[in-house]
Symmetry: D3
């Protein structure tokens, strides 16, 4: 079975993270730790934290970050309606300049369905 785009994305991300950890000192490593911690289950359920990460990434227009949170959202059981409502907020807040990223967000979401 050929490798999916999602699998390629994950592998590429891991390979580059290795380079970051090789060069990164204490501050960069600590930052990565906090970056993991803030999305853990807490007063806000993990599912909504991933949606917060997704919408932040959409309004700041970072495709890699969007794709990562799309995958996480799927894993946390976000459904189509929830995703659509979150992306609609991002689109309104961030404007039409986010549309190319919105397209790729939904493309990744759609690919995740085929993998199921």
């Amino acid at each position: 079975m050929p490798e999916t785009n999602i699998e390629k994305f994950k592998k590429g991300r891991e390979a580059l993270n290795e380079i970051v950890l090789r060069y990164g000192g204490r501050n960069i490593k600590r930052f990565f730790t906090i970056d993991t911690q803030v999305y853990q289950e807490g007063a806000i359920p993990k599912k909504y934290k991933e949606l917060l990460g997704l919408v932040s990434s959409l309004v700041l227009r970072c495709d890699d970050c969007i794709k990562y949170h799309i995958i996480q959202c799927k894993g946390e059981g976000v459904n189509d309606n929830e995703l659509e409502e979150a992306l609609a907020i991002g689109l309104v807040v961030g404007g039409s300049i986010t549309i190319p990223h919105l397209r790729r967000a939904l493309q990744a979401w759609d690919e995740l369905k085929d993998i199921e």
Copy 2:
């Protein structure tokens, strides 16, 4: 009783919205309608939609938008822990450049407590 900062903020906002509606044509008015619609109760509860609006506003660093969503979050029953966790995500995603806005977000949150 003297007017609070929050009350001043609301009045100033309304006064300026009147100017926008006076000059705004069909497209601007439609945009304002959608901007209200996306935060309505739906598959995602209104509370989390306001948090999505808040964190988006924090990473994009808009004080007025942050203050508006802080007030809305209070109205939707967001508690201290939920607010802190949402702001922590915004801080990590958006970086130290968001800190002055984070300070003012928590200042507004604190003022809302005195009003209660």
Copy 3:
């Protein structure tokens, strides 16, 4: 005759728009409608509206949006001098960080000439 980059861009955009419309609810669809309306002929001629869209896209640094408006500008009869002057404003407002996008904007403009 092989497919040009411009044709590939248009097809890819259409394919992804279909995915957006499949998942998108009422708010996202309304947003897309307004996004079309604001560029229609009005008090400001369509040609200048496309230049407004182009320069906004340049200062916000969105390659897809730039390419789309470059194609629209060509269709509205924008000439080399007008394009250069508009891009110069975008470059000055947005700074050297826009240069990679300016390069790709002019590359797309150049490709459109070969198609004529």
Copy 4:
């Protein structure tokens, strides 16, 4: 007659520009020259260049830049409809995060009418 907000804005801007020129070296001075040049009458009429500056400033959310171009637009004879259409493009491209700036843009525009 008391000083208007617009007059205060202009004086404050001039006072600070003097400080910039006192400290600024050759590169900063050259940048300021280009910044003036790009808005001169050319293949694109000055009026539309000011609208390009205005919309760029709106999507990048800089109140001082917006106010400056609002004043320039008035001077170039931009009318209410043209202004509204340009701002609508900025609002759609830049999203609801631009609304506080849109409000202040129209407030400044409104103040300019009282001065007439």
Copy 5:
């Protein structure tokens, strides 16, 4: 002797930092620690780290962050020429949209001289 703008800025900052620490949990506190650590003397001298913070703040257009690093730069012995060269890089990278912030940066720098 009346309080200077710089002193007011420092006091206001401290007062708000107290609010942040009152509400902030472990992740926010850790972030503040890293934010202090990255500017410490190291392979890059502290002086240049403050200039890195200053130019980053200029291109991202955050007045509070700019003012903070301007004060730090003064404390690290940055001279007029060094400051001007660093700001010129920020101006070119970030474009004319940074000019209002550049003005306020130099105004703060100028005020620091009067305090000496």
Copy 6:
């Protein structure tokens, strides 16, 4: 010997710069001149100017600009520790949204070592 990514990047950049110069008028050309001038040796050594360019590019999240300054930093003798400390400042200022660019920055830095 096959062409490296770095060589491809340089060639692509030159090819597109030719297109810019073909269409670019006086203002665009002057801008390019200033863009070269601000990084010249001065009160701030060239090495630190390149680091200022790099960190600005990281917080503004422009991969092409980052890659360009990474190459320049290597040429100016920046070592691993200096690079890491500069990137850590960029990461903290700009937040986790810069991580995908940080990864690619270090990937380019790593490739430059293989070329040596």
